[in-house]
Structures are given as structure tokens and as C-alpha cells.
């Protein structure tokens, strides 16, 4: 099977029902995408498939063959992703940092779809991403900063 990850074609020998998460982590050793729940409940594993945020832990790898998969490792090469990462650093968002790959993938997808999200948009797009350290106030502020809307 062939998979396009961050613009590179990868040849794989994977079971078709294997979740994309484990292909990324265990087969490709791309560990930036995190395991948190395995049931699309926490968002730690969020990647983009053809630009849409997707929970890779429940996405069978066979369903994304031929599609463009983008992971946290490629966000620095993405204009919006870079803005989000910069806002995360400026506002000191991460604590343990483990969930932040997924948070950044969800936030970047949100900003691509809605460049000026309001609080309800942020709640709706981000409530699937759990942060046990409780960085939510800074995540909200950083999304607004990345959007150029200030951090009120």
C-alpha cells in the first residue's frame, strides 16, 4: 500500500484495518501524532486528510490511501500552522505538551476554515481535544492571536 504523508510517498506493508495512528507511529516512526484514547474522544491523534481534521486513531489506513495526509511534523511548512505554532510559543500554551500536537492540528484546521473564529467556533472546533493540564484559556487566546484578532 502507498500512503502520501507530508508530501512524501511511503510504501507500506500494513493490515488494511490498521488505524492510521499506528501506521504513523509504529510503521513510520513519526511519533509527533499522539495516542490518547483510541476512540476519537480526546483529539491527541488529530491529523489532516485532504485538509480536514481527522482522528487518526479510528481512521483505517486503507481509507486514506491516495489522499494527502498531513501531520504535526509538517506544520512548520504550512503558513497557518506556523502562525499557530508561533502563537503557542508566544503565549506559553504548552504545559506537558503531549496533547498539543492534536490541539495545533485542530486549531490550524479551524483557522483555515474560519480565519476569524469567535468563542463559539473555538468551543465547537476544539472541544474534541482534551488537555489534562488545563491549558484551555491559553489555547483560546493563542487561536485568537494566530487569527490576528487579539486575545481578549
Amino acid at each position: 500500500m502507498q500512503l502520501e504523508v507530508n508530501g512524501q510517498m511511503q510504501n507500506l506493508d500494513a493490515q488494511p484495518d490498521m488505524p492510521l495512528l499506528w501506521v504513523l507511529r509504529d510503521s513510520l516512526h513519526m511519533t509527533g501524532t499522539k495516542f490518547g484514547c483510541g476512540m476519537a474522544l480526546c483529539g491527541a491523534c488529530t491529523v489532516h486528510v485532504d485538509g480536514q481534521p481527522v482522528r487518526s486513531c479510528i481512521t483505517q489506513v486503507s481509507t486514506v490511501a491516495g489522499k494527502k495526509i498531513t501531520t504535526i511534523e509538517a506544520m512548520s511548512a504550512d503558513a497557518v500552522g506556523r502562525r499557530v505554532q508561533a502563537a503557542w510559543i508566544e503565549l506559553g500554551v504548552p504545559q506537558c505538551g503531549y496533547c498539543q500536537s492534536g490541539q495545533i492540528m485542530s486549531a490550524t484546521a479551524l483557522l483555515k476554515q474560519k480565519p476569524q473564529p469567535n468563542d463559539a467556533d473555538i468551543d465547537s472546533a476544539m472541544s474534541g481535544n482534551i488537555c489534562r493540564c488545563g491549558t484551555y484559556p491559553r489555547i483560546r487566546a493563542a487561536i485568537k492571536r494566530a487569527a490576528g484578532a487579539g486575545s481578549s
Partner: protein, 775 residues
């Protein structure tokens, strides 16, 4: 603290590779050599001295300077979100006069004899190591200054280290740290008495909050490596089917279907450890595979017959009734003053309430995971652990290897919250590698494993009674706390709270009530009980700070004024006079319970939150103050409850007095996060048991705070403090006041008193709302 007096320090000129083993070699310098602390007998030990292996302040242990001028500073405490890999090295760098841009941080492996205590828990890292790390940096700075002075042939008094170089002001000569490194490394380490520490006005980084997280860039780009991210050549992946009941074991299993799952390699039984199982694995059946997914699928195909053992009947509903029954009768007296019975009977009015706080699970976003390999009788593990030394110890003992033949590499922790103080998962990985002839094996806990096989926050019933005089002032106070103890995992179940649990806000109530008794009736443990961020302060603060508000309501008084009156005038109370012999292991004279500081955080938060301000119908303010981890915190929560009973939290104000703040920016982030966790604890998190089994399994039914229910606006108000005040803890003290302040706010908003957590549907709507928008 004199830790290094009689050590013979060996100065070795080594490459940086030898310094810690993983850095690229450039010239190199201040290197390794240290000796165990020698204890002198034997007054009571406090602070870092009370912990195993105490503190080390030797710059040869913590600082390496390359000939290229790069300064490498060791962080020996685990990073789990508190920012310690930034804050402690920053302290060293400040005293060293190092340019932070040229500082690298390296994580220490488990080795307490070399680095001092590494138990990253109890909100102790900065509190215990601020002073040693200052001395460490100052000693290294002095060595560089001496090297320059010697080279120039001038007295050391004439030179000064400034921003990564040593300067001779008289002649304007300068030498960079890289140029001085080799000569400096050959000098003796100055004794503590001769060190010149900076005056706080000279600090470059300490207290400023301007240094960014050292791991921040890696964390936002996916490069940060956590325990679960370890990758070794030829590594295999394992998951384990564990007994569904604590103390249960495997009777038999059939792995035939499992072995047909593609990429499954082998199935191995892990022997269990009957209760008390301490940090040892629960046992069960492990599936080893070529990837995690295959291991999970293989586990699903296992057919296992379990014997459930002594906890098979554990049921949270009946257990709660048993705790309540226990709380309604006298129990072991753990503090007593005056005559409570007489005062109660002559009181004008009596008030009574019971509070319930369930089990909770830490559920760090990175579940427990560890990788182990064994080569030539030496075991190496890579893992996220709060307890590096205990991990090394348990692995060596369980494998039957000498302690020196076990290496524990400490990765970043994807959250800890107390779960990763218990290295059972690391022992599992080591046992499986051993069973696979040393092949690297990574054990991953799924979220279901984490929720169902954890070390749970205790479950408790807090029974309170007060007698009020005619003016509504308490003249008698009776508190019975009933909760299974963490000590139950270490030995025969004591059925009573340990001094460290009682000292978390149960006995050390600083109220000026003449007749006061605290009792601790018995409670049996039927699950593994373990530390959960803030530990027993959670139930004690919830009960006491709720009850005070209930007394205020009974007396018709403002809750803030009533709380302050109960605390009374500012005084410094010796904790021993409140039957607290523990005091977070700190000296009772250096760290008395200072009610003036508790008053000040309450007054500050009330002022900042504009306590008493008019709010729309359905909204209310609640206040609570609590002392824990030798830090004083008060919170005001603003809550809004709509007609359907849906709750939102527009704003929380928190005031904190932790003494001096080494990294105020990280202090703020910790308090914000503690507030969010406190809200999640109160709203929705609970673990319940039925037939000995945990009923929850994942984040769909073990619910934690999400962004849509988190307080929209958290304002942290730090009390300024001089650096001569002893430091308090930061990671944990922010949690305990949140739940009572929230429930007090709900009472103010709705008139409904919440005495049982989580709140969930007690207001008529489910909490958290299914898809809330709080805007």
C-alpha cells in the same frame, strides 16, 4: 544545608559524551564526580534533607561547559508540565551569569546518589532545589572567575563574571566561558561558605518569567519525545490483559485465536502481586506483537478465566453507605481540644453536613508506557516516570539484577498527576523484555487500561458538625473523615489516614474555635489507592470550605467575612499544636501555618474579584481558601446556571502566596491548569466500582474538563514576596479551593447546596452539557 562538606570531588576532564552519554563531543568540561551524602546524626530532617538522598549542589554534577562555550545544565527532576526543565536550569544559569541562549538542558537518568532526590511529586522541585541550584551555579561561576584571575595574575576580587564571560574591569580584559572551561574544570569546587550568591536585584532570569520553555519548540512541532515515543531497533510492542479486579489473578487462558492475529509474536503470562501490590505489576497476560495495533487486536482475541479474589464484591454504592455509617459514629481521635460534646450540647444552634468525593483517575494524556531492553545482563528502560529511583530499584529487584546494571532514561512526561509516581508499567516492560531474551519491548497502556487498572484517588465521606452561639459563631467543631489510605498499597491495610493524609487540611484547620475535635473512623481499601494531584486536600478542602459557607448561611452572614472571622487575627501557628506532625516534611519553625498569609490571599482574591458585586439572576460568586504544600491559595468562582440547570463558569479569580516565585509565568500556568482540573473534578470526574470492576473505561464515561466547560476567564493574582521567604509549592495547591468555591457559587446562584461530587445532573441538566457554548 551543608551537603558536600566532606566529599572528595573528582575533577575529570571528559568529553561531553562521557558527561551524560548522549551528547555530541566537543571539548569539555566541568564533569562528573560526586559522593553520597554522609548523614550526620541526627536532629529531625526537613525539606530536601528529609527526602532520600537529599539535595546535591555540586557543579561538577550539574554543569558542563564546552570549549565552544555551550553550557549544559542537568535537570534531575521530571518534566510533566510544571516547567521544571526550564525553571531549575534557569536558576543555575542565573547564578552562573550564563547567557540563556547558550544554555542547553539535559535530562538526568535515575541516579539519586549522584543527583540528589528525584521523586518529582509533592510540589517540591523548585521548593527544595532552588537554594542548591543557586549554590551550584554560583560555585561554577566562581571557578570560572578563579580561572580567569589566575590566567591574568590578578586577585579574584578584581574580576567578575558577566553574561557568559569573565571581565577584568581595570584592564577591560575578557575571557569567554568556553575559553575558561578547561582551566576552570581543574580547580577545586569552592565550599559553600565561600560562595557569593547574587542579591535578588542582580537576578537575570529568576523571578522575571521571561525565559521561554526549553521544550516549547519541540512540543509544538511534534519533536518532543515522551515515554510512549521511544523507538529502538527490532523493538516489539506489548499490551497486557490485567485482572479486572484488584487482587485477582489468571486461572487459565487460551491464546490460540490471539496467535492467529497477524503480527502477533507471542503471549506471555505475567505473575501478579497480591495486595498490597505496591509498585508491582497487577499481572495478567501480555500480547507481544510487531506493532501496537496487532497487540491490541491480539488481546481482544484472548480467552482468559480470572479468579477475582478478595475485592470481587467492591461496589461503590454499598461502599458509600458503609463510609457514611462509619462517619456517623465516633472514630480514632486525631486532634482534640476543649470539650466538643459539652459545647455542642450547650450551643444555641447545631449544623451538620456530609460531603462525598468519589474515586478519580489521573488520566494523564500520555497513558503509562515504557520500553525496556536487556543486553549482557544490563537492563535499560526509557519511560515517563515521576519516580526515577524507585523505577530503577523495582526493575532491578524484580529482574534480579544489581542496581548498577539498570539504567532508567527519563523522558518527558505527557502529564503525571501522581499516576507516574508508581512504576508498575515499567516493571511490566522489563519483565517482558526479559521473557523475550532481552529484545526491546514497549508496553503501552490503552486508555481503558489506564482508567480501569489505575491507582485511584481515595474516596471519602466527610462528616461535619458545628455548634453555633447566639451570634452564629462556632463554639464547637467536629469533623470525621473516612477514606481508604494510600498506605494500603504498601502494607497491611491500616484502615486509617496516614499523618501525611491527615496533614492535608484535615487536622490543620487554623480556626479559632475553642472546642475542636477531628476523628478518623476506619475505612477499608478495595482498590489501589494512590496520589492524585493535591491528594487528600481535595476532599478535606471541599468539605471544610463548603461547610464554612453553610455555617455563614446559617448565621445569615457574608461567607467571605465569616471565613475571615473564623480564621481570626494573623498569627503563626506551629503545625504540631494542630496535631500535624508532618507539615509537608518542612520545618515547623521555618514553615509555620501563617494565618496572616491565608487572610491575605482571601482578602486579595475578594478585592480582585470585586466580591459582593451585583450579578444577573442565576449567577453567583463563591469563595474558598486553603493552605496546602506550604502555599496559601484562595479562589472566587463566578458561576451562571440557566433555567435548564446548565452551568457555565464565566470567570475565576485565584490569589496565590507561594513565597517567592522563581518563574512567575509558569506559576500562573500551573494555577490556571489547576483551576481547570479542579472544575473537571467537581463537574464530572468519577470512578465507580461494581463487582470489583471499574465501571468507566475511556473519556466518554470518565469525563474530564474540556475547553467548552473550562472557565472562560481565569485571573491569577500572585502575592509578591521577598526571596528571603521560604518557598512554597506550586503544582498542587491550586486545585483544592476550586471545587468548594464553585459549589459555594452554585449555592449563591441557585440556593442549591452540592455536597456530593461530581455535580453532574444535580442541577437538573447533565454536566458537562453535551455540546455547550458558554458564550
Amino acid at each position: 544545608m551543608r551537603l558536600m562538606d566532606d566529599t572528595s570531588v573528582e575533577v575529570i576532564n571528559v568529553s561531553r559524551r562521557a558527561f551524560l552519554g548522549t551528547m555530541s563531543a566537543v571539548g569539555l568540561v566541568l564533569a562528573v564526580g560526586c559522593s553520597p551524602r554522609t548523614g550526620t546524626a541526627d536532629p529531625p530532617k526537613y525539606g530536601a534533607d528529609s527526602m532520600p538522598h537529599g539535595a546535591v549542589d555540586n557543579p561538577l554534577v550539574f554543569v558542563a561547559i564546552g570549549t565552544d562555550g555551550v553550557v549544559t545544565i542537568i535537570c534531575h527532576r521530571a518534566e510533566m508540565g510544571q516547567g521544571v526543565r526550564t525553571s531549575l536550569p534557569m536558576v543555575v544559569a542565573d547564578e552562573l551569569e550564563a547567557d540563556w541562549q547558550r544554555v542547553r538542558v539535559q535530562q538526568a537518568p535515575a541516579d539519586e546518589e549522584r543527583f540528589g532526590n528525584q521523586d518529582t511529586d509533592g510540589s517540591r522541585s523548585v521548593r527544595h532545589f532552588f537554594a542548591p541550584m543557586r549554590r551550584c551555579g554560583a560555585a561554577a561561576r566562581t571557578m570560572l572567575e578563579q580561572a580567569a584571575a589566575t590566567q591574568w595574575g590578578v586577585p579574584i576580587e578584581e574580576v567578575a563574571a558577566v553574561n557568559h564571560e569573565v571581565v577584568h574591569a581595570g584592564t577591560n580584559r575578557r575571557l569567554g566561558y568556553g575559553q575558561l572551561a578547561t582551566a576552570a574544570s581543574r580547580l577545586p569546587v569552592p565550599t559553600d561558605e565561600t560562595l557569593r550568591l547574587k542579591a535578588p536585584s542582580q537576578f537575570r532570569y529568576i523571578g522575571k518569567g521571561e525565559v521561554r520553555l526549553v521544550d516549547g519548540p519541540d512540543m509544538v512541532t511534534g519533536r518532543a519525545i515522551y515515554g510512549i515515543d521511544s523507538v529502538l531497533d527490532d523493538m516489539l510492542y506489548a499490551v497486557v490483559a490485567r485482572p479486572p479486579v484488584y487482587g485477582g489473578k489468571v486461572v487459565s487462558y487460551d491464546a490460540s485465536a490471539t496467535l492467529k492475529v497477524p503480527n502477533v509474536v507471542r503471549v506471555i503470562e505475567i505473575p501478579g502481586t497480591p495486595p498490597p501490590s505496591e509498585f508491582q505489576p497487577l499481572g495478567g497476560v501480555a500480547v507481544i506483537a510487531r506493532n501496537t495495533w496487532a497487540a491490541i487486536k491480539g488481546r481482544e482475541a484472548l480467552k482468559i478465566t480470572w479468579q477475582d479474589g478478595p475485592n470481587a464484591a467492591y461496589d461503590s454504592t454499598t461502599y458509600r453507605a458503609a463510609l457514611e455509617q462509619s462517619a456517623r459514629a465516633p472514630g480514632e481521635v486525631v486532634r482534640n481540644q476543649g470539650d466538643v460534646a459539652a459545647a455542642m450540647s450547650s450551643a444555641a444552634r447545631r449544623v451538620q453536613a456530609e460531603y462525598y468525593i468519589p474515586h478519580m483517575a489521573q488520566t494523564p494524556m500520555e497513558p503509562p508506557a515504557a520500553t525496556a531492553r536487556i543486553v549482557d545482563g544490563r537492563c535499560e528502560v526509557w519511560t515517563a516516570t515521576q519516580a526515577a529511583q524507585a523505577t530503577r530499584d523495582r526493575v532491578s529487584k524484580r529482574l534480579g539484577l544489581p542496581f548498577d546494571h539498570v539504567t532508567v532514561h527519563v523522558t518527558l512526561l505527557g502529564g503525571g498527576f501522581g499516576r507516574k509516581s508508581k512504576p508498575d508499567y515499567v516493571v511490566e516492560a522489563a519483565l517482558l523484555s526479559q521473557a523475550m531474551n532481552g529484545t526491546p519491548v514497549k508496553v503501552t497502556w490503552t486508555r481503558e487500561d489506564d482508567v480501569q487498572h489505575g491507582y485511584y484517588h481515595t474516596v471519602s465521606v466527610e462528616h461535619l458538625e458545628a455548634g453555633l452561639d447566639a451570634a452564629g459563631k462556632p463554639v464547637a467543631w467536629l469533623h470525621r473523615s473516612v477514606a481508604p489510605s494510600i498506605r494500603s498499597i504498601f502494607g497491611p491495610d491500616p484502615q486509617h489516614e496516614a499523618p501525611f493524609e491527615r496533614g492535608m487540611g484535615l487536622v490543620n484547620v487554623p480556626f479559632g474555635i475553642p472546642n475542636l475535635r477531628v476523628e478518623n473512623p476506619a475505612a477499608e481499601a478495595h482498590a489501589r489507592i494512590g496520589w492524585y494531584r493535591s491528594v487528600s486536600n481535595i476532599p478535606h478542602a471541599f468539605a471544610i470550605q463548603s461547610f464554612v459557607a453553610e455555617l455563614a448561611a446559617a448565621a445569615g452572614r457574608d461567607p467571605k467575612d465569616y471565613l475571615l472571622e473564623l480564621i481570626g487575627p494573623a498569627q503563626r501557628i506551629d503545625p504540631r499544636t494542630m496535631s500535624d506532625s508532618w507539615n509537608y516534611t518542612e520545618s515547623p519553625t521555618l514553615y509555620p501555618f501563617d494565618t496572616g498569609r491565608l487572610r491575605r490571599v482571601i482578602e486579595t482574591v475578594a478585592k480582585q474579584a470585586d466580591w459582593g458585586r451585583k450579578l444577573p439572576a442565576g449567577q453567583g460568586l463563591g469563595i474558598a481558601g486553603h493552605y496546602s504544600f506550604v502555599t496559601y491559595v484562595a479562589a472566587v468562582v463566578q458561576v451562571a446556571v440557566n433555567a435548564k440547570g446548565e452551568l457555565s463558569i464565566p470567570r475565576v479569580d485565584v490569589a496565590l502566596d507561594c513565597g517567592p516565585q522563581v518563574n512567575p509565568e509558569r506559576v500562573r500556568s500551573q494555577i490556571e491548569g489547576a483551576c481547570v482540573m479542579g472544575v473537571g473534578n467537581a463537574l464530572s470526574s468519577q470512578i465507580t466500582f461494581k463487582a470489583g470492576r471499574v465501571e468507566q473505561s475511556n473519556f466518554n464515561n470518565y469525563e474530564v474538563a474540556r475547553i467548552n466547560v473550562a472557565p472562560r476567564d481565569i485571573r491569577v493574582h500572585l502575592i509578591a514576596s521577598d526571596f528571603d521567604v521560604p518557598l512554597g509549592g506550586v503544582g498542587e495547591p491550586g486545585v483544592p479551593p476550586i471545587a468548594p468555591a464553585l459549589c459555594n457559587a452554585i449555592f449563591a446562584a441557585t440556593g442549591k447546596r452540592i455536597r456530593s461530587l461530581p455535580i453532574r445532573d444535580q442541577l437538573g441538566a447533565s454536566q458537562p452539557p453535551a455540546n455547550a457554548s458558554t458564550s
